[in-house]
């Protein structure tokens, strides 16, 4: 314990903390969590993130710790962060659902058109780098097919490679687009969680704007635009309005 604190101090001064030390921190944090010392666990998990490392598991555990001390907005924020890194993880989705059931707002989401839903399902199916890898493999195979098509003397091979080449072209292109969209979502952070207990959403980016609707802490919003420190947000049921940037934390 003492050793770790000294280590943290030593490294935070120099600003270099190797992944190995973060693993030690994580072990310590997990121990605090199992001993019901959630505040300590939160502190340690956040330290790891501060040190510049992340993983779905760290976000998930941090979300759990926040959940245990009944801070739903923070818990949801970190579950969403975890989900962003590892979509379709059963544990993350389950805990996120439990946390969402404990917040004030129950926003009915608007059913999306089938192709949007499919696209989103695809988007959530793999992480950025997984999609990047898929597009890479597909483009590699596309090159191979191109070679076969151009160089083969056999008619059947040329025919097969032609059609496979088209398939790989589509896969590579889709993979690139999905990876790009996900990558953008990390860079632009276009989702956020409301942290103000009761938040009045305005019709325009100013205090004098007309109050449109009220949302409560823990709700997720999509950021669609921003002017100064005002954000245009959209909630799951499609309603749009403006809020201050301080009222939310970006996922």
């Amino acid at each position: 314990m003492k050793k770790i604190i000294i280590l943290i101090l030593a490294f935070s001064i120099t600003g270099i903390l190797s992944a190995n030390d973060n693993l030690l921190l994580l072990e310590e944090a997990n121990k605090s969590y199992t001993e019901d010392n959630f505040e300590k666990a939160i502190e340690l998990y956040e330290k790891v993130i501060e040190n510049g490392n992340e993983s779905a598991a760290v976000y998930f555990n941090l979300g759990n710790a926040w959940f245990k001390i009944n801070n739903m907005p923070e818990a949801i924020l970190y579950y969403e962060k975890a989900r962003k890194l590892t979509p379709y993880d059963d544990d993350i989705l389950f805990n996120l659902q439990v946390a969402n059931s404990r917040i004030v707002d129950k926003i009915e989401s608007v059913p999306e058109i089938f192709y949007v839903r499919w696209w989103k399902n695809l988007l959530y199916f793999f992480s950025v780098d997984q999609w990047a890898a898929i597009s890479l493999i597909a483009s590699g195979l596309l090159m191979l097919m191109l070679l076969f098509f151009l160089l083969s003397n056999w008619y059947w091979l040329r025919k097969t490679s032609f059609w496979l080449g088209i398939v790989f072209l589509i896969v590579a292109g889709t993979g690139y687009l999905l990876a790009n969209q996900k990558h953008q979502s990390f860079i632009r952070e276009h989702q956020a969680i409301v942290f103000t207990p009761t938040l009045t959403v305005k019709s325009s980016p100013s205090e004098t704007g007309i109050d449109v609707f009220v949302i409560h802490e823990g709700s997720k919003v999509q950021i669609t635009d921003h002017i100064g420190d005002w954000l245009e947000v959209q909630i799951a049921n499609g309603s749009v309005g403006w809020i201050r940037e301080d009222d939310v934390k970006k996922i």
Partner: protein
């Protein structure tokens, strides 16, 4: 004391008729009265203590009308204004002088300490308005200031009759029982004790220890040579509910004291005096209503130590014992089990919550039956508190009721104590009255009961940590892997093309050379023909034919034979007639070469045949 006595001489409201009669009489007599200066004065004690009753009286020596009393807000008006008159007739040397005093009196009680002013009252006499004087009254807080705050008159009895509050422990822990006792010290007769006002203790949970007593316990004590009867008028067990300094306000006790009235008579006659002061006559006592005020108490409540505080500590302080009892541990389904927890000891036992018990989820558990058996005695509160649970196992199996723990703070040991009950293992057998068929029929099947809605546990190592904000996507390495294959493919394509071209070049060159080679060989053969060199001629013809085929078709000579020539040529879609002719020519050449006899005869013919077939195949293969 005199004044006190006087206070109670006012005429009660019931005697109004008598007053009216007196007033009428006075009115009749007033005709003879001489006009005097009107004197309207207010009198009252200038310093009183909180809770003390005192009289405020307005005296006027003339008949007045429309008495308007002051607006009294700072004091509690117990009664008034009451009117009374006193008249005296003096006959001196035949001169009759009458003196009539009208008195308007109030009985007030001071409720708060401080200095208050009583504004003047007004009255009109013969159409003229008169104001009385205003009064300043200082109210001293009682008890704490002891005798200094009390008036002169009060001092008279403070020796004989007083109330004292005492506490058993002035620095208790939060929740620790401490006993407050109000004792009445008296050396005179008192009756009608009323201590009902001593009942509230802000900041404490109080338990009256004298609830069941019919008689107030009395003792005798000698203090400073004087014998007192000491009565414990009130006794409470106090349980502090907050830490810090708490002041218990002075308690008040109303009583009726029997006080000697010897000094009540004032006479200048020494004989009279001595006569009436005789103890025999002096035996008369007057009943005086008095309010006794005790001292106030300061209690410093210590908060409980936070160190080693058990999680389930719920505020019990004292000394306790914890027992548990179960009616049976081997039962059949649907048979009830009684589980009893008994907590006994001294302290705030009534405040104990039922212990936290985790019953097996399949058990039907009813709310505990809580019964208290609290004994209050002068030593404080003690007793037992019983929690009785009725549980009914619904399904057979082996179950465990985990140890139940309670904790309390032991003041004597100055530490937290944990008490546990033993664990109980309950064996539940299948009851006879539960038909087996129910579960077979599927009617008795249970849904999985969710005991709580909790999140899933944290993810455990191994972790694969990544650096925030750094992606493989769009990294240099990504672009390398994306465009690398394209470059490689292009390179392969270029290299492949070049090799293919080179290879096709050598092949076409050989083909082009084939005719030339064949022609050169035939020319050589023609020379041999002219020179009649038969052997060389046939070798050359054979060489020309095979060589031509080998070069033309780009097939090594070694792979060609009489057997596969036909096949190869057929593959090249050469006319079967030509193939046959070619093979014939080859055969003839071989035959002529090795045939005995004159070889020169056929030489001409074979030369022409070879020349013919090569030119024909040349045309066919082009």
């Amino acid at each position: 004391m005199n004044r006190e006595t006087k206070i109670h001489q006012y005429l009660p409201a019931g005697n109004k008729i008598r007053i009216t009669a007196m007033v009428l009489m006075v009115l009749l007599l007033s005709a003879t009265s001489f006009a005097d200066d009107v004197n309207f004065t207010a009198t009252a004690k200038t310093s009183v203590s909180v809770g003390e009753k005192f009289q405020l009286s307005y005296k006027i020596n003339a008949e007045g009308k429309g008495f308007r009393g002051p607006n009294i807000t700072d004091f509690q008006v117990l009664s008034g204004p009451n009117t009374s008159t006193s008249s005296s007739v003096q006959i001196i040397n035949g001169q009759v002088s009458r003196k009539v005093d009208y008195i308007f009196s109030y009985i007030l009680r001071a409720s708060k300490d401080g200095t208050y002013q009583i504004p003047p009252a007004t009255i009109s006499v013969d159409g003229k308005s008169y104001h009385s004087n205003a009064l300043n009254i200082t109210v001293a807080s009682s008890g704490s200031s002891g005798s200094t705050g009390s008036s002169q008159g009060e001092q008279d009895t403070s020796d004989e009759l007083y109330l004292r509050a005492s506490i058993s422990n002035s620095t208790p822990y939060l929740g620790e029982q401490t006993i407050i006792t109000y004792k009445l010290y008296t050396s005179i007769q008192v009756s009608n004790l009323d201590a009902s006002k001593i009942s509230s203790f802000p900041g404490f949970w109080a338990k009256n220890l004298q609830e069941n007593l019919t008689n107030i316990p009395q003792t005798r004590e000698v203090i400073k040579g004087k014998e007192y009867v000491v009565a414990e008028v009130k006794k409470f067990a106090l349980f502090p509910q907050r830490s810090g300094e708490i002041i218990i306000e002075a308690g008040m006790l109303d009583c009726v004291a029997q006080i000697k009235t010897s000094s009540g008579r004032k006479s200048s006659d020494p004989f009279f005096d001595s006569f009436f002061n005789d103890p025999f006559f002096n035996n008369r006592y007057q009943n005086v209503e008095k309010t006794l005020v005790s001292n106030s108490l300061k209690i410093d409540v210590k908060s409980l130590p936070t160190q080693n505080k058990p999680n389930n500590f719920s505020g019990a302080v004292g000394s306790f014992d914890f027992k548990s009892d179960i009616s049976g541990t081997e039962v059949k389904t649907n048979e009830a089990i009684t589980l009893k927890f008994t907590l006994s000891g001294r302290g705030n036992i009534e405040l104990m919550n039922p212990p936290q018990i985790n019953f097996p989820p399949d058990f039907e558990v009813y709310d505990p039956d809580i019964s208290n058996n609290i004994r209050v005695s002068s030593a404080g509160v003690s007793g037992t508190r019983t929690f009785e649970y009725l549980i009914i196992p619904r399904n057979p199996g082996d179950f465990e009721i985990k140890p139940v723990t309670i904790s309390y703070f032991d003041v004597a040991k100055n530490q937290y104590i944990k008490l546990s009950s033993p664990p109980y293992n309950i064996k539940v057998a299948k009851g006879e009255n539960q038909p087996q068929s129910i579960s077979i029929a599927g009617l008795g099947k249970e849904e999985i009961k969710y005991l709580g809605n909790d999140i899933r546990h944290i993810k455990l190592p191994p972790y694969s940590l990544r650096t925030i904000g750094i992606f493989f996507f769009k990294s240099n390495f990504y672009y390398l892997l994306l465009f690398g294959p394209l470059v490689i493919a292009l390179l392969i394509l270029v290299v492949w093309r070049r090799t293919v071209k080179r290879r096709s070049d050598t092949a076409s060159m050989k083909t082009r050379k084939a005719t030339k080679m064949a022609r050169r060989r035939l020319k050589l053969a023609n020379n041999y023909l002219k020179n009649k060199k038969e052997t060389e001629f046939y070798i050359e013809i054979s060489q020309a034919l095979w060589g031509y085929l080998s070069d033309k078709l780009n097939i090594p000579k070694a792979k060609l034979s009489m057997e596969n020539v036909k096949e190869i040529l057929e593959k090249r879609k050469v006319d079967p007639a030509l193939i046959a002719q070619f093979i014939d020519t080859l055969n003839n050449t071989e035959y002529a070469r090795f045939a005995p006899g004159d070889k020169s005869e056929n030489m001409d013919k074979i030369f022409r045949e070879a020349l013919d077939i090569i030119s024909k195949i040349e045309g066919e293969l082009k």
